[in-house]
């Protein structure tokens, strides 16, 4: 037993004295306050997080951990979505068949369900997080800017949910997007059935019509078709997640800069 203990101690010392270890960890073990701060400050992932949290801030009854759960679900969705991309092809010819195959021809047939359930869960947790922040008054100055960032993140979450809804390319998806995108017809100025759109005309020629309005930009055509599927796929897999990740970094960083998680009044 003595020998084993000595061996382990020597091994530990040899490891922590090595150049590789020291190149990765620039500080000692987090046994002092200074080193605990350094652990957070010198880690690219942890440094968005405050060095110190209020005791009330980590109380589950106060935060419900809803922001954390939302972020966790975003990570789950990113990872499962990445795996789905190995099998899914965003074309009218293959999309639905690939979705069915993902369940029956590919191991771990619940991968698509994990992604879908996770997406539903994320929409719910985002709302609950917002509800918590509202009820605890955490939107008040100095946190009003972060509330605004959060609202944009809410919209991005809903857009991710909306764009992902089309990808299975079943009847439900096609008609949901047909109906949903019809709203864009009524956009003021840039929707061809919207207010003021009729005023934008040169003589007899109207400048905003079904072939160039806001809905057309969304769909890539006048009806939901191949180009819509591709546009929604690119937005769903690249555009919106990038925007969300960027704003999430700002969101977490601002929590820290605005004085950490708000405490009870």
């Amino acid at each position: 037993m003595q020998k084993v203990t000595t061996f382990v101690t020597n091994l530990w010392e040899a490891t922590t004295e090595s150049q590789i270890w020291k190149a990765i960890f620039r500080h000692g073990a987090p046994t002092s306050n200074r080193n605990r701060v350094l652990v957070v400050m010198s880690n690219v992932f942890l440094h968005l997080h405050p060095v110190k949290s209020r005791k009330a801030g980590i109380k589950l009854r106060y935060t419900w951990c809803m922001g954390g759960i939302t972020f966790f679900l975003f990570l789950v969705l990113t990872f499962t979505g990445l795996l789905l991309m190995f099998y899914y092809r965003p074309t009218v010819e293959y999309a639905y068949a690939d979705i069915v195959d993902l369940r029956e021809h590919v191991p771990l047939g619940i991968m698509r369900e994990l992604h879908r359930w996770g997406a539903h869960a994320m929409v719910i947790t985002v709302w609950l997080h917002m509800f918590r922040v509202f009820m605890t008054g955490s939107y008040k100055p100095p946190r009003e800017f972060n509330w605004g960032v959060g609202v944009v993140l809410l919209v991005l979450t809903l857009l991710l949910s909306f764009t992902g809804y089309l990808l299975p390319w079943d009847q439900l998806a096609i008609w949901a997007i047909t109906v949903g995108s019809n709203m864009a017809r009524a956009t003021p100025l840039v929707g061809h059935e919207g207010p003021l759109a009729a005023a934008l005309r040169l003589g007899d020629i109207s400048l905003v019509h079904a072939g160039n309005d806001a809905r057309f930009i969304l769909l890539g055509s006048r009806v939901v078709g191949d180009s819509t599927l591709l546009r929604f796929y690119v937005l769903h897999c690249v555009g919106l997640p990038l925007a969300a990740a960027f704003l999430m970094a700002v969101h977490f960083w601002r929590v820290r800069k605005d004085g950490g998680i708000s405490g009870p009044m």
Partner: protein, 177 residues
């Protein structure tokens, strides 16, 4: 955490849980975490090996032996399966349309009675044996057998190399009597 550092209070002694109990809880938790991570990792790795493959079949029938003229190279299956079917007096063999130099697809030149690679000029006899250009060895032959319905069955998953003496293998050549 904060209380212990001030040094004003003795180390917190939990009334509910002993030190030993805490460690065994932590060990159990880590064991469960490791087990689920390992299960997830294995499942994830398995995800990349689908149960159904969409690759083209390696075996296919090309027609009845009488469909092939004696002394002719049949090019009908070159585009679809990348294979030439050759019939001579004794029987039928299948040649893979991949140049043994750098993998281009040679052409069958009827007038000159040879396979000629357009990339670097390698030439092969009708048998598949190389005689000019940089190709270091003959074209490879494929497994040919008779299917149950009497058609010629080609199997691309098995190749026969002349230089390895594999053209002696009865499956590299479909003898017709």
């Amino acid at each position: 955490m904060g209380d212990q550092e001030k040094g004003t209070e003795p180390p917190a002694q939990s009334k509910e849980m002993s030190r030993r109990g805490f460690i065994s809880w932590v060990a159990t938790a880590w064991a469960f975490f490791a087990a689920s991570a390992a299960t997830g990792g294995i499942a994830m790795g398995r995800f990349f090996f689908p149960n159904v493959l969409t690759e083209p079949p390696s075996t296919f029938t090309v027609g009845f032996p009488d469909d092939f003229a004696i002394g002719a190279v049949d090019e009908r299956f070159k585009e679809k399966y990348r294979v030439w079917i050759v019939r001579n007096e004794e029987g039928i063999y299948a040649i893979q349309t991949i140049c043994t130099h750098l993998g281009c697809t040679p052409n069958w030149l009827e007038a000159e009675n040879k396979f000629k690679c357009p990339c670097h000029g390698s030439g092969f006899y009708m048998s598949g044996i190389n005689f000019e250009g940089p190709a270091p060895r003959p074209l490879e032959r494929l497994r040919v057998t008779l299917a149950d319905d009497g058609q010629v069955l080609v199997d691309k998953s098995r190749t026969f190399k002349f230089e390895a003496g594999q053209w002696e293998d009865p499956e590299s050549f479909l003898e017709l009597v």
